[in-house]
């Protein structure tokens, strides 16, 4: 029997590539930038499996162009680039990598929170430009206090829980809003469950940890921003479209909130001419939530395991649409 054909849409850690290469005839897209949709469809035409990431559009067109496709394995926890319903209709299992990114992503969200509070990237830029001419001044570069401040966590899944744990070490008061209440975690991390208006009105930091769904699209828009404190800082390390970028720009420009720190944008990458990038009170990182050596390796290995399982007709260890299995 010939080896199945696998398409890997970007270079990934070696350990994962070897797992795939041992079981499949492997084709790896070698460039940093993703293949355009036409190229991707051409490359997928003969593929039995495809290992994707968040930049690749996986939709009905792609499925039509890849008649042999038996598995889509996404190296991410989010799946908003994949038409999962369409994959399910065609009985194609979709793999993903939940669990392994929680710690790294919570770390990144907390790093952003601290950086925004203490104006770290802004101050660093100032030093590099030669702005630091006075050794010390008691009224320069004043930022927000993090310890003992109130953090409001929206979305109490695995990443939200890790945020709460980190906030405890900073003696923060923790409020959260989530679809599902988590009584055990409330006791463990001394958190209070609130409604959205209370959370927005009382928090010094609002951190978003919801998946992107039709319900969470522009979850934070003009109305929500208006409820936040003028000293508040918004952190988004979830998905870009959870925040309405136009109203965020207005709020930051008019200082109706103090600052924002984003690991994700809408669209992504952000347009270099986006007015948000003209603001000093905004930090934008290029979607680095899971960007540690260990986490990316774990994600890639899990994605490779999902891919190989799919190619061999076994159930995926981590499947987003298990209903494809009878």
């Amino acid at each position: 029997m010939p080896k199945p054909k696998a398409l890997v849409t970007r270079a990934i850690p070696q350990e994962a590539l070897e797992l795939v290469a041992a079981r499949a005839e492997m084709d790896v897209w070698p460039h940093d930038e993703p293949p355009d949709p036409v190229t991707l469809r051409r490359m997928a035409a003969r593929a039995d499996g495809i290992l994707t990431n968040i930049m690749d559009r996986i939709d009905a067109n792609l499925f039509n162009a890849a008649p042999n496709l038996k598995v889509v394995s996404q190296m991410a926890v989010g799946l908003d680039n994949i038409d999962v319903a369409e994959a399910t209709r065609r009985r194609i299992p979709v793999g993903y990598t939940p669990g392994v990114v929680s710690n790294a992503t919570a770390d990144q969200a907390f790093a952003l929170l601290l950086a925004a509070a203490r104006r770290l990237t802004e101050a660093e830029r100032w030093v590099r430009k030669g702005g630091w001419k006075i050794a010390f001044h008691p009224l320069f570069w004043l930022g927000a206090e993090v310890h003992q401040a109130t953090i409001g966590i929206i979305g109490m899944g695995s990443i939200g829980l890790e945020m709460a744990k980190r906030a405890r070490g900073f003696d923060m008061r923790i409020l959260y809003y989530s679809r599902t209440r988590k009584p055990e975690a409330e006791a463990l991390y001394d958190m209070e469950f609130t409604d959205m208006p209370t959370l927005l009105a009382e928090s010094d930091f609002v951190s978003l940890h919801v998946p992107l769904t039709p319900e969470t699209h522009h979850l934070i828009s003009a109305n929500e921003l208006a409820q936040m404190k003028p000293t508040a800082i918004l952190v988004n390390a979830a998905r870009g479209p959870v925040v309405d970028p136009t109203t965020l720009y207005q709020a930051l420009r008019d200082k109706t909130i103090a600052a924002a720190a984003l690991d994700v944008t809408s669209p992504e990458p952000i347009d270099p001419n986006d007015p948000l990038l003209t603001l000093e009170n905004l930090v934008v990182a290029p979607h680095l939530g899971s960007s540690t050596v260990r986490t990316r390796t774990r994600m890639a290995v899990l994605a490779a395991q999902n891919l190989v399982a799919g190619l061999e007709g076994r159930p995926l260890p981590r499947c987003a649409n298990p209903q494809v299995y009878p």
Partner: protein, 327 residues
């Protein structure tokens, strides 16, 4: 009794200025740059009290120039700019502002640690420069903060606050200090006492929290950097001269360590031709570890309280040299 005269060497919070103005005749140096030493000598000639900063040199010559001086109030927790022995000899109390900036400074040190690990400055600057073209599985990879070993050199108030913050990240802690913390504190924060070389060798993150003294001058130099892991991150939110900057530059350039994140430099401000500024694996912020609104306000009012106590012949609430009151 005549109204005492006071010189305040920099703009501080209005609340604190108002406290002092209510009891004294105030001259305020409102320039952003510190007064030159010669100017300071003239300004203090007739004063009873002086409110000063780390950047103002307060030595015997200055005290000679200020025969009426009976209260020196420093708005900082450190006071290496002041000849305290000389002040004590003359019976002049020196005030400072300990305690208030502990949490704020630890917040900044932790912010630096995380920004360094996650290459946040580099990433944010790339976005700002329009260089964010795509997401890629192998770009901007850094070490995990979560579960990494944190080495703390100097387990004073700020060091302990670092240990506390590290708990939320499940970080094992190695520490070295002249004084060992009690066993229950070690247990509470998952800390292990170790010789300095062990701390340097085994830590993924090394954060410095010592005072600047002759013993800690260039505490981190070639030998120490050589002991560290090749991907280790070094954080300094203590005092610049605790690290030998030439040795640090070499270590970062040659990959002996992975990254440095500095709130303080030697000298300060850093000179624009300093080679550290040419490195991608070094971030530098302008000595802002205590720069939060509530902390700086508390520092200002504490310094005002110390100054006024000194002027009124009462013990300063926070005095560096309380032995002046024993005479």
């Amino acid at each position: 009794m005549p109204i005492p005269k006071v010189f305040i060497a920099r703009r501080i919070f209005q609340e604190a200025l108002d406290m002092i103005s209510a009891e004294a005749d105030v001259e305020l140096w409102s320039d952003e740059l510190p007064p030159p030493y010669e100017t300071l000598l003239q300004k203090v000639a007739n004063v009873d009290g002086l409110l000063c900063l780390l950047t103002d040199k307060i030595d015997a010559q200055l005290m000679d120039a200020a025969p009426n001086l009976r209260s020196i109030s420093q708005i900082a927790v450190g006071f290496e700019n002041i000849d305290v022995e000389e002040a004590t000899r003359r019976g002049i109390p020196v005030g400072y502002t300990p305690g208030v900036l502990t949490g704020t400074t630890a917040d900044m040190a932790f912010a630096l640690l995380m920004a360094a690990a996650r290459r946040l400055v580099e990433g944010a600057e790339a976005v700002r420069a329009g260089k964010w073209k795509t997401w890629h599985p192998l770009h901007y990879l850094g070490p995990d903060v979560f579960g990494g070993t944190l080495g703390i050199l100097g387990m004073g108030r700020i060091g302990l606050e670092m240990a506390k913050r590290a708990q939320g990240f499940d970080m094992p802690i190695l520490y070295y200090d002249v004084y060992r913390r009690p066993k229950d504190v070690e247990k509470q924060y998952n800390m292990t006492y170790a010789p300095i070389d062990t701390v340097l060798r085994q830590s993924d993150f090394v954060s410095v929290h010592v005072n600047l003294t002759p013993e800690t001058y260039h505490l981190i130099s070639h030998h120490e950097l050589h002991l560290m892991k090749s991907n280790a991150v070094l954080i300094n939110a203590a005092r610049g001269p605790v690290i030998d900057p030439a040795a640090l530059y070499l270590a970062l350039k040659e990959g002996q360590i992975g990254f440095a994140a500095l709130d303080v430099t030697e000298p300060e401000p850093i000179t624009m031709d300093d080679p550290l500024l040419t490195l991608d694996n070094c971030i530098i912020v302008p000595h802002i570890a205590s720069a939060s609104v509530p902390t700086r306000l508390r520092m200002s009012t504490m310094a005002a309280e110390n100054l006024l106590a000194g002027l009124n012949g009462q013990p300063m609430p926070n005095c560096v040299n309380p032995e002046v009151y024993e005479k």
